[in-house]
């Protein structure tokens, strides 16, 4: 399955393929006006639902029933935000989401780099079998193990706490695979052998050779992990309560019920989405690079 993974090819003959930030291999076609028209259509298609959440979130519920519905922004956004914070403890939810996503990100990046180094550059018994296992389990949705996981959390009395959300996220098979791929290419084996000949221990090699090289990939993995953790829905919904939620659980509580207050619930989606939007606008280029390097987590 690994060879079906896609990654932009850096020049194969180069002995040390530097982690290139440039995208190569454009097809030599001169894009015309039609192309940009299509792309503008795409941009509208992508952005409209988010824009729409701002339209609904900035209006009073009563106006939404009018014909035609408002298509521009209204005056009530801050009032609705205040109302959302009053209905559900979004301050706590945001703090919880930052804590959970932050802890998961640090842990995944750390353990993936360690394991990725061993899989990519060290020789040991059982290496291939273990790596195959990592890749195979990458395909299995952990969601299927949710019942014993819940029983486990209930037994150690973690249900309703952030520990229950953080613990299953601490490691990721995808992360290990990602770092193994990257370090396999980015760290020349000769360099490690030379360091060993000079009497370096494995730990020193990791610290002085591998760690500096792994930074760009670690950053990309970190961003992808943070976004995934921030957006995670099912497990937090199962194990947390609306009184002490993550942002997604708060959102779900806000939108559930027989009568939906659309202004309120769409204001909730704004609160839940804006933090990631900021990250995305600031670091989008690297996130895209990460996805194109075979970020296959779905």
């Amino acid at each position: 399955m690994t060879d079906t993974l896609t990654r932009p090819k850096s020049a194969p003959e180069a002995p040390v393929p530097a982690p290139s930030r440039r995208y190569k291999g454009f097809v030599e076609r001169r894009p015309g006006k039609l192309t940009y028209l299509a792309l503008t259509g795409l941009a509208l298609f992508s952005a409209f639902p988010l824009y729409w959440s701002f339209v609904v979130g900035s209006h009073d519920n009563g106006i939404l029933g009018e014909v035609p519905p408002p298509l521009g922004l209204g005056p009530n956004l801050f009032e609705n935000i205040e109302r959302a914070f009053g209905t559900i403890d979004f301050a706590k939810a945001l703090a919880n989401s930052f804590m959970v996503s932050g802890a998961i990100t640090i842990s995944v990046v750390l353990f993936s780099t360690l394991a990725g180094f061993a899989f990519a550059k060290l020789r040991f018994r059982g290496r291939n079998a273990l790596l195959v296992m990592v890749i195979a389990t990458m395909m299995v949705p952990t969601q299927l193990g949710i019942i014993p996981l819940y029983m486990l959390m209930a037994k150690i009395e973690w249900t309703g706490t952030m520990y229950a959300v953080i613990a299953p996220g601490l490691v990721s098979a995808f992360g290990v695979f990602f770092m193994t791929q990257y370090l396999g290419e980015a760290v020349p084996t000769e360099l490690i052998e030379a360091a060993r000949a000079d009497g370096c221990t494995t730990l020193r090699i990791f610290w002085h050779v591998v760690l500096p090289v792994s930074k760009p990939a670690a950053a990309v993995l970190g961003m992808l992990t943070f976004m995934t953790a921030w957006n995670d829905f099912f497990w937090p919904l199962v194990v947390l309560t609306p009184e002490d939620p993550t942002v997604q659980v708060a959102l779900s509580a806000l939108a559930s019920g027989y009568i939906t207050d659309f202004s309120l619930s769409l204001t909730g989606t704004i609160i839940a989405t804006v933090p990631l939007l900021i990250v995305f606008v600031a670091l989008g280029k690297h996130i895209i690079g990460g996805i194109m390097q075979g970020a296959i987590k779905g």
Partner: protein
């Protein structure tokens, strides 16, 4: 002594780097998954301390369970409705992006913008857009003189609405995966085709698609696994109800699992459903493996 330390370092220390990953992964990934199989053989309720061994009785019940087949059918239909147009659109979009564009990063960012929006937010926003009374789609339909649709009430209409949510969130992401693969295709092929007067569309179908076929198969399997996990969209589209509509017209497998486990608290039976879903994934992965290896031979 030094020699011994050296050997210990080289032979033994690799395991230290992978141990943290495998310990945590075993506890929160593998163990719950495996234990699900054990629970599925029991009458196991959250409300009772005794767990009677049933053997395969849960499985017999599951295969005779109308709700299970209904959920499986819904899941398959939503999968087809969302995946087929999604991957076709992603192919075309990747083809458009695979040119010497101005501001390529910007266009790529607009393509993945939906993907950074959380599923919960997507479900809530589109729930409003497909709303019966104040929804944007119904307003457009009415303006065109086509009449309103109660999107939630019908089987086809509700599944279309849910498929649109999935389609919107994943098209751009898949386009980037395709784009990465397309950039590895030999440019000379396109040059030659252009000289022969092949249109851009012909280049897509005759050169690009055969060249990136492994990637296409890969995205199919990833979206199949993703399709098995669809939960937030039907849950929030139905206002938080676990049944997926009054007639279960849009209850997916994951939602059924959720209902059995956390509304009926029948952990044994829910585990059976989870294990059945795992079986389906294994079958799909096997078919994928078979297809890929046949492709490689031909």
């Amino acid at each position: 002594m030094r020699n011994l330390m050296y050997r210990l370092d080289v032979k033994g220390s690799p395991y230290l780097y992978i141990v943290p990953f495998f310990l945590l992964f075993a506890a929160f990934g593998i163990f719950p998954l495996a234990y699900t199989a054990w629970v599925s053989l029991h009458e196991w309720s959250l409300l009772s301390e005794t767990h009677t061994f049933l053997g395969l009785q849960n499985y017999q019940e599951l295969f005779a369970d109308e709700y299970f087949w209904n959920a499986l059918r819904n899941t398959a239909q939503i999968w087809v409705l969302s995946t087929v147009p999604q991957l076709l659109m992603a192919l075309v979009l990747a083809h458009v992006l695979n040119q010497r564009l101005r501001a390529p990063t910007f266009w790529r960012m607009t393509a993945v913008l939906p993907n950074i929006t959380s599923v919960a937010a997507v479900a809530i926003i589109f729930g409003q857009i497909f709303g019966k009374d104040y929804g944007l789609v119904n307003w457009i339909l009415e303006t065109l003189g086509l009449g309103r649709i109660d999107w939630q009430a019908g089987t086809a209409s509700s599944q279309i609405a849910i498929s649109v949510m999935i389609l919107w969130r994943w098209t751009g992401y898949n386009a980037l995966i395709y784009l990465a693969a397309m950039q590895a295709v030999n440019k000379d092929l396109y040059d030659a085709a252009s000289l022969d007067g092949a249109s851009s569309f012909q280049q897509l179908t005759r050169i690009t698609v055969p060249a990136i076929r492994p990637t296409i198969i890969f995205t199919v399997i990833v979206s199949t696994i993703g399709g098995m996990q669809v939960l937030a969209e039907p849950l929030l589209f139905g206002g938080g109800s676990m049944t997926g509509g009054s007639d279960r017209q849009f209850q997916t497998l994951s939602l059924y699992l959720y209902e059995v486990a956390f509304s009926r608290f029948d952990f044994g039976y829910a585990s059976t459903a989870a294990w059945a879903m795992f079986g389906i994934i294994v079958i799909v992965a096997a078919i994928n493996y078979f297809l890929t290896s046949r492709l490689r031979r031909s």
